[in-house]
Symmetry: C2
């Protein structure tokens, strides 16, 4: 039984967080700090597969080599990516300033940045951020929310969640998370966008890494806003063990913990899809009957990522020809003559393709009416096996183009 | 010495063509016929890699098994894709009606369709098209232009070209071509969009196939409008041998013929990119210094295909961070710290990244001014080898979204 509880990162005992304003971003909170009261704890991370890796990615990967972190510092407004040796030094400096303030080893601090690529971090403002953060660091839910707010760039809504779940041994554990993501969103395979997760579960680093990888593959890695994979994607989980449950390891995983973690990552992934730049429709693509899981994922992600499908959804157009086309180039194997497709929203459903045949205009008009909703599902039934997967995305709107064509130098 | 000559498909001796109106499309010419006066001649084709293949693809692939065709019939306004057994029968019927009119074997007729996916061809209009086409079939350049016009869907300009070139043995050969393409354009590897090519060169089918494959890889396969690969892409070349040159074969290819063919396919590819749905900027992406040809192509095509780069170009924004990001996920291997990028148009050039470092605001302002032009080039210099490639595309505009969000049932 998983229950959603108030708050995000700080809903978990033993974690404090904050978000403050330094002025790196032109408005709003822009400096994030998460700290473990116990100091460094078992941690796991997954990073972008983009060959161009931002400086914070390089530093955090190094600091995670011992599979432990005690704090994460982050800023929005400047990605510190493609910033050369100076950028690398600045990312290291961020961990040092944070470590000094928290009386930790710099190697125990993870660092993340998001915003414009190619500009150097204003280090005086970073120092100011550390000072202000130290004053406001707290375990209240407001502090957790501020932390989540400080990660936002073109995001329009805060993305956080916390759940409680009972493990197999009866222990209650809490898992909290915060994320950002609005554009340049198409996490690739072993990677993801900016997301941080806390838990009080007692779990080994290898167990945590394994659970995180599984969870990310079916959540963040199934979101596409624009098929552009960022150089700064990262997801990090910290587990402080305060729940004192029977130890979870890679060889002895906990199904209940996995379910709780999946709930957190999936809800954050959905929030990211809902908040895609310029989005008017949240799109859920559900594929069933695929040859296997991998085929289901390929199919779902291709449909959720197609510019033409996304533009059609913007116009409430049940253009199933584009859906079938995306299935065709997805790489998934299936029999075109066995495909059925319907659109769903608010408990209603309209079929548009039945056993490989497109349905007539009246069905499509019905489908179009159903699509006139903030949240729709494209349900695809293949007939090749038992593979099923869900992908999330949003429509392609004129506002997306507007947001991304503004020359801002 | 390659010279461009007036006309397209019919600039080549021995080929007649026409475009007529039947009413399949809501306005304009919509029925295409190309016929070889010699009857069936050596021919080669490349087809979509999409798993969902339109009925015309299936029929034409079969008819090309003997590597000969004598005519191509095509329509716009209805793709005859995802139309089941009826669609397949209708595509075969199109070849039969055409064959009867031209006194040919149905197996010698290629067939193509473009337009809406999932609706059946109105066969009475197809019959009407064949009748009208037979009356107007001609070797004039106007007839060739009408044929090219009849292929258009959301295209706004005719795409045709013809070149003359002297072969190694001194013989003059002519190569003509016509194409269509505006949306759902991202030809995949061994495939391409609708394009037909005629030549009077004396060449074996295997020699023609080999030359065509090489040519398409560096032309049509380097165009991306929206990263959506259509189920109906095809390119077909017919060679009637009237030029009486020394026979070209796969083992004895002609460099001069290849150059002429490359000129035809490249110019058609550029016309397709220029006419991308809603395009305001034509974008040429030139990559040099890549590890090898394959790496250069991956890099060029990723940049030309990135939604974020395309939206930035729409806003005259020299957002090189997005270019570097696309390079990073392209799959090409390169050293990020060795990349240089500049933008060019109308003989002017502004660097934006030099040896891995982003240039300051004044350089970017200069670049933005240069980008305020109908045609721009993004020039990327890697420093990993001698691979070079060019890709073509267009910007992502609000009009693209407008065009593709209209619900038209």
């Amino acid at each position: 039984m998983i229950s959603v509880v108030k708050g995000g990162l700080t809903a978990v005992p033993g974690f404090r967080a904050t978000g403050v304003r330094t002025g790196i971003k032109h408005r709003g909170l822009d400096f994030f700090l998460l700290a473990s009261e116990k100091g460094s704890v078992p941690s796991a991370g997954l990073f972008t597969s983009n060959k161009v890796k931002g400086a914070p990615i390089q530093v955090t990967q190094k600091n995670l080599e011992d599979q432990k972190l005690g704090a994460i510092v982050a800023n929005s407004g400047c990605a510190n990516a493609y910033t050369g040796k100076t950028g690398l030094k600045n990312a290291e400096k961020m961990t040092k300033l944070t470590a000094r303030a928290l009386d930790m080893d710099p190697d125990d601090v993870g660092v993340a940045s998001t915003g414009l690529i190619g500009t150097q971090l204003p280090m005086d403002l970073i120092q100011e951020g550390v000072d202000k953060a130290l004053e406001t660091l707290s375990n209240t839910w407001e502090a957790g929310e501020n932390a989540a707010k400080a990660l936002m760039t073109t995001d329009t809504m805060v993305k956080e969640i916390a759940v409680e779940t009972d493990l197999e041994d009866g222990t209650k554990v809490t898992i909290g998370g915060a994320a950002k993501g609005a554009g340049m969103i198409h996490p690739d395979l072993q990677a993801t966008m900016l997301a941080f997760i806390t838990t009080d579960a007692y779990i080994t680093p290898a167990g945590l890494k394994s659970a995180l990888k599984k969870s990310v593959d079916q959540s963040f890695n199934m979101v596409s806003i624009d098929r552009d994979t960022s150089p700064n994607d990262m997801v990090i989980a910290l587990a402080n063990g305060l729940a004192n449950n029977e130890r979870i390891t890679r060889k002895h995983p906990s199904k209940k913990f996995q379910e709780g973690l999946d709930k957190v990552t999936t809800e954050l992934a959905k929030k990211i899809a809902k908040d895609g730049e310029g989005a008017k429709h949240f799109i859920r693509v559900r594929v069933e009957g695929a040859k296997n899981l991998e085929n289901a994922r390929l199919a779902a992600r291709a449909v959720a990522g197609s510019n033409l499908v996304k533009a059609a959804v913007f116009g409430n157009d049940p253009n199933w020809g584009r859906i079938v086309t995306a299935l065709g180039y997805s790489g998934a194997s299936f029999k075109p003559e066995k495909v059925s497709i319907s659109v769903r929203s608010e408990g209603k459903e309209a079929p548009v393709v039945l056993d490989g045949e497109g349905l007539p205009g009246e069905s499509l008009n019905q489908a179009s009416k159903i699509m006139d909703s903030d949240e729709i599902e494209i349900y695809i039934k293949l007939d090749s096996g038992k593979g099923a997967a869900t992908a999330w995305g949003c429509d392609l709107t004129k506002e997306y183009v507007e947001i991304n064509s503004k020359y801002s130098t």
